[in-house]
Symmetry: C2
Subunit: 346 residues, 2 copies
């Protein structure tokens, strides 16, 4: 029996980009979700709002999910701050004895009112981004018996975590001992371990990533969850530290078809995929040579025919295997990984 | 009358690389330093140990500097932790009513014993790296009436801060309204403002840098203090965020002649200068085009003849103006900056 029964709080933000955390938990921990909480959307289903999660209901009162034992903040807003209007829901959940899980930059456990309520009720508040990483990278001890893959992207929120999860799961189905290495709050909620590197003090980002890799090198393949992009006006620090902390053998590029500008920055056009690939491959050389070996397309804005056309266009333009892992499956991408694994690991 | 009378604590680490903070305060705030504290080197002078500071004495007891009103931690060890053996000196300084200033990652103010002693004596503990930066970059509001220069490097501790200070000071002497923009603890101690970006949460590094630039754009030239290098196994996160946060118009490359491996990483050879330049210029393009316009050589390991030969070698190899600003002066570098300023600012 599975004892985790989550309600995903997405109040007022129940659309796929803002509610990224909820969408991903619905996709990868479906059996553990009992409801979404959005009082503005009561009566709809998760599938209606986020395109995933089937008949899981949207509720407006916690009483409607009497078996729930955990309230998870289901959104990841820019800057990571919790809307103040959520306080009553959080207090009600604590009152019901529910565990609170949050990936926000604003730690809920630091809120005196929430902390006091949780202590009184004996309820745990888990701030997934909390960390005390203080070790610098060593660039020692990494070996070639374990293939290190990194998903990289053209922007934030394009599907780097989804691609990494899909690839790790597909590799497992092919009998490979693969692990998804979570580097963000949602990935950590799904995988149960990892490091929230965008919350790590910048001096220690490379070291925090390296530590995750060293701890899991007994696996055959590590698929490291990418963050942002090396070209990002806001978050390139995170991406650079991730690249040089995990020193990948190969990379999988992820992008969203139809996106033209950085998410949340309508004045900033995205660079072409070729330039992103070039920048990552050049910068990877300071660690060890690593090529982009495949492309994971996020084709959520396209219909079937458009998605197939896009896939062919990208294969031609970049000369790389390409697929939307959700729509087309991961076979073509997994073949590219297995080819690289033979070269690297023998 | 100058009221700041510092003792620089370098106990057991009184050599130029480890005692980088002390060396730089001795060079740029000479009149405000009354002594170095290193009980293993009593009787020597600052000049003897660090090659700067003239007759400023090295003491082993605070009583030997009766006028001192501030104790500054003068070293910047990897990882930024304070040696436990320093506690008695810190407590003695507090007891004498001295302000404590530290740039370590370990905040002295968080030490209950020190905090209690300081509170009791009414003494301030200033942890320069402490910050609560939580804003993402906007990439808006930057303008071309103020020239933004960034010093970049081949490694940590090669002289990026010194070069930035020398260039800002030389520009001021030429009648230019220039400002040194401090991005590290020592620079902040010298300049009196800035942001310790290696201590900022990685998501907010680019934003913290951008904020420093926006606040100072009324100047004619900003010389932004570089951090680490984009190729650094440990600290590339910091360098990438700095580059994309300040979006420079031009860069000045700094390196130490004779250094072959990353500081503190004898297993990691340094990349050639040309590759460092290429990587920075490529990555800068995601903001705006910016070239390396000059090279600042740190020739401390060389004699005069060797330093001149190195200067000519670098001019030839890279086709750029080059000088050790300490040894050769900054004229050649300032000319390159003024040329760029005419192109950018009209």
């Amino acid at each position: 029996m599975n004892t985790r029964r989550m309600v995903l709080l997405t109040e007022g933000y129940s659309e796929p980009i803002a509610a990224k955390t909820a969408s991903c938990l619905l996709r990868y921990c479906t059996d553990q979700v009992v409801a979404m909480f959005d009082s503005t959307q009561v009566g709809k289903t998760a599938q209606d709002l986020l395109g995933v999660g089937g008949a899981i209901p949207v509720i407006g009162k916690l009483e409607e999910a009497p078996t729930a034992n955990e309230l998870v903040i289901g959104i990841a807003p820019p800057g990571g701050r919790a809307p103040a209007a959520w306080k009553p829901v959080l207090l009600a959940a604590i009152e019901r004895g529910m565990k609170i899980t949050s990936g926000l930059h604003d730690f809920l456990g630091d809120d005196p009112e929430l902390a006091a309520a949780a202590a009184k009720r004996g309820v745990q508040i888990v701030d997934v981004r909390k960390n005390d990483e203080r070790d610098v990278a060593t660039r020692q001890g990494l070996h070639d018996k374990c293939l290190r893959l990194l998903t990289i992207g053209q922007d934030c929120s394009v599907g780097k975590m989804v691609a990494a999860l899909e690839l790790a799961n597909a590799l497992k189905k092919h009998g490979v001992d693969a692990k998804f290495v979570a580097t963000g709050q949602t990935g950590i909620m799904i995988e149960g371990d990892g490091c929230p590197i965008d919350r790590v003090i910048s001096d220690f980002v490379n070291g925090a990533v390296e530590k995750q890799v060293l701890a899991n090198q007994h696996r055959q393949v590590l698929v490291v969850e990418g963050q942002a992009t090396i070209s990002h006006p806001r978050y390139s620090a995170v991406s650079a530290g991730l690249l040089h902390g995990c020193v990948p053998h190969g990379m999988v590029l992820v992008y969203e078809a139809g996106r033209t500008h950085y998410s949340g920055m309508p004045h900033m056009p995205l660079p072409p995929l070729k330039r992103v690939i070039q920048a990552y491959e050049d910068l990877a050389l300071f660690g060890q040579p690593a090529k982009v070996i495949a492309v994971a397309i996020n084709s959520r804005r396209l219909n079937e025919a458009e998605a197939d056309a896009e896939r062919n266009r990208v294969r031609d333009e970049l000369g790389l295997p390409a697929a939307d892992p959700i729509r087309h499956g991961s076979d073509e991408l997994v073949a590219a990984i297995e080819k690289l694994r033979k070269q690297v690991c023998g």
